[in-house]
């Protein structure tokens, strides 16, 4: 995963979660606030309806009392009581009731006798006032009365003659929900008689309300919408009748939730954009320096070098620390490499020392050749690396002699032709030995080619002139000089001047003339002569271990 993706996710996901969480919470809060609002508004409606009703009932009761004192109605009731089975008598009273109905604009009138048995009644059907089938009607003192599929709200007043009650007049109005600003439902013993919820048939409402207890507020679901339903309790409607008003929570909270949704979608999109921008910016500010570091590392991978980073370039503390630790690691690696190299060199030195030690006469040869070669190289203004290469190459130049038998190597006297050929194998052997050692590649030319002559008569390859590496040419001269000035079992070493003379003679044939000139300018034999007496003694003592190395070195310089 890229850093940009990562940082985007890290910034966007919490944002999203936070948004979703707060959206949910706010939605819940809105819902509960809406619920509370609906409850209180339903209650408020009930209270005001009850208030209006009580007032109108008071007026109605006064009006009803007047109606109960209607003399002709009394006469009619008396007539009907005395002639209960005469159709004309019933017709007379029905006719009276019709007249009252028409003049008072009520929907239902019914007279019953003192025992509560209905005598005659009319009700409004369309624009007609039709006589009621009174056989099964027993009107309540007050409350609801259902006739067929019509619900009436009924109030009654006694009809008294003198001190005797002769009957009751029930006045009814067709019940409608005109007082309710919200949908409402009228139910009798769980059966919905009338419902003003638009578009939903009464049976569905009935099924939904089944779970509600009769006198408690409850929540119902109708066609996927949640309604709060509150029974009206301040007014008594008669046995088994419940009037409930309902209000949809969803439709009330819908506009608020729509706004909320818009706000949150906007916020979400904003957060997304912000997260993208922030992610890109922050990742760039981090990735850029890292990329720089990485490209440097790639480079160093190719070159094999471990360059130093400049921590000041990175603006971020962490990156700076990273580069610093890179630098430290690089440093450590370099140091390790150097140590390793040093160890190699030491190893090689000891190898050379061991070689030299095989023969008393060649003791110190490698070291002396190395020293002289170094001196020559420095005099020729070679750089430090090249000088180092020469120093170690010179130390190792005769390593191939390990592979040559002592009998040949230490043979006193002249060598046969075969023995000579054997001896001449040593540069190749040396090369073979060192080839396998990593990091020694640069010394191979010295080891292999330090017996090549300037005129091409040397061995093993017979190279000539500039084709022979400079380091090999230098070591060739130093080797020859040391060999000539050293003692051998079969002869004493010649003096420096003699050897110098021979070298001078061979300039241009055996040796590179330029190096010979440098050698002459160096004046090695004179220095040697001055040092010879003491140095030789010290060396001898050093080699046999009779004086300490430190002391020996002091004496030598």
């Amino acid at each position: 995963m890229r850093f940009a993706t990562r940082s985007f996710l890290w910034s966007f996901v919490p944002f999203t979660l936070l948004l979703l969480g707060s959206f949910w919470t706010i939605q819940m809060l809105v819902q509960s606030a809406v619920r509370d609002g609906i409850r209180s508004s339903l209650r408020q409606t009930h209270v005001s309806i009850a208030h209006v009703r009580t007032k109108s009932e008071l007026q109605n009761s006064q009006f009803l009392r007047t109606l109960g004192e209607n003399a002709s109605l009394k006469a009619g009731v008396q007539l009907l009581t005395s002639e209960p089975n005469r159709a004309e008598a019933r017709l007379t009273v029905q006719d009276q009731l019709r007249e009252i109905c028409a003049s008072l604009d009520v929907d239902f009138l019914l007279v019953s006798n003192a025992d509560g048995v209905a005598l005659a009644g009319v009700m409004r059907v369309g624009d007609q006032l039709v006589a009621m089938d009174i056989a099964r009607i027993r009107p309540p003192q007050r409350g609801f009365l259902t006739v067929g599929d019509r619900a009436y709200q009924v109030v009654s007043t006694p009809i008294d003659q003198g001190e005797e009650n002769i009957g009751t007049l029930a006045v009814g109005e067709r019940f409608d929900f005109s007082e309710f600003t919200t949908p409402a439902v009228l139910a009798h013993n769980g059966k919905v008689l009338k419902s003003s919820i638009p578009g939903i048939p009464a049976e569905e409402v009935e099924a939904a309300l089944k779970s509600c207890s009769e006198h408690a507020e409850c929540e119902v679901r109708l066609r996927g919408e949640t309604y709060i339903s509150l029974p009206m309790q301040s007014i008594y409607f008669g046995e088994g009748y419940v009037l409930r008003s309902l209000q949809s929570v969803d439709s009330a909270s819908h506009p608020v939730q729509a706004i909320l949704r818009n706000v949150f979608v906007l916020a979400g999109v904003g957060a997304l954009l912000l997260a993208v921008v922030l992610g890109v910016l922050s990742s760039r500010s981090i990735v850029k320096p890292i990329a720089a570091v990485v490209s440097r590392l790639h480079e160093s991978e190719k070159t094999g070098l471990l360059p130093e980073f400049h921590p000041e370039l990175a603006p971020i503390q962490e990156i700076r620390e990273l580069t610093e630790s890179f630098n430290r690691a690089g440093c450590a690696i370099r140091e390790g490499r150097e140590n390793l190299h040093h160890a190699y060199v030491e190893f090689v030195k000891s190898l050379a020392g061991a070689l030299d030690a095989r023969d008393r006469y060649t003791a110190g040869h490698s070291r002396r050749v190395s020293e002289l070669s170094c001196a020559l190289a420095q005099a020729m203004n070679l750089n430090a690396e090249e000088v180092e290469e020469i120093r170690i190459g010179a130390l190792l130049h005769d390593i191939g002699k390990i592979g040559i038998a002592d009998s040949v190597l230490q043979k006193p006297g002249r060598l046969t032709k075969e023995e000579m050929a054997l001896i001449q194998q040593h540069p190749r052997i040396g090369r073979t030995i060192l080839e396998g050692v990593r990091g020694f590649q640069s010394y191979l030319p010295v080891v292999e080619l330090h017996h090549e002559d300037w005129n091409g008569t040397g061995y093993p390859l017979g190279l000539r002139g500039e084709a022979i590496p400079l380091a090999a040419r230098i070591v060739h001269l130093a080797d020859a000089y040391d060999a000539m000035t050293s003692d051998r079992p079969y002869r004493r070493g010649m003096s420096g001047e003699q050897a110098t003379g021979i070298i001078k003679e061979n300039a241009g044939t055996q040796f590179d003339p330029a190096i010979v000139l440098t050698f002459l300018a160096l004046g090695v034999p004179a220095q040697e002569a001055a040092l010879a007496s003491t140095a030789r003694d010290v060396r001898t003592l050093l080699d046999v271990g009779e004086i300490e190395p430190a002391r020996g070195r002091q004496l030598l310089h």
């Binding site: 006469a75 005469r86 017709l91 007379t92 028409a102 007609q128 006032l129 039709v130």
Partner: protein
Amino acid sequence: MVSRVFTLLLAGLISLTAVQAADIEGTIVIKRRLTKRRVTTPANSYDRGVSVTLRPDVEMDPLAMERSHVVIYLEGQLASTPVVATLGQENRRFVPETLVVPVGSTVSFPNNDPIFHNVFSLSNSKSFDLGNYPKGHTRTVTFTKPGIVFVNCHLHPNMSAAIVVSPNQWATKADGAGHFKLSDVPPGKYTAVAWHKTAGFFRETVTVSESHDGLVQFVIPLEAEDSGKEMARR
């Protein structure tokens, strides 16, 4: 109409041949409405279920209506021939609403409606209560004292009728145009009385000779104070 023309012709012939009696003719002048009449629907509405509503009567010219409800009679103890008259109940109205009978007459009150009616009167000259009775039944009352008898129905307060029991046989109602005629009045000086339910009594003196018919005109109402007096006297 034909019979009325015939009677007039007959009366004219009688007056020409026998001159010992003459007529009193007159007119009733009413120039404004006196009654706010409200009537019930005349149609038979009991079975149809439409409510029986009261409404202004538009069938008749209101002034003609007023005039036709004016009763004219002569004061004084004169000859009286009792008759049998009918005051029916139809469509929750008394028919006729104004009835004139000479003293001693008997009035029958048949119920022609499919509902019960009740006929009663609390008037000074005659008070009675015939009880409730249904269609096809009737009750009769004999009026032995002259006076105005108002008849009502307990069951239907808007039903009312007036029976004018005249002291003698010379009593009549004006027609829609206001004309009236009392026939065969013996010569003499009379006080003619016009009575209207709302306006009250109006009296005019009229002289009838053997050769001259009496002519009288009533202007109803008179001044406010007179009519008030008449109302009080009633």
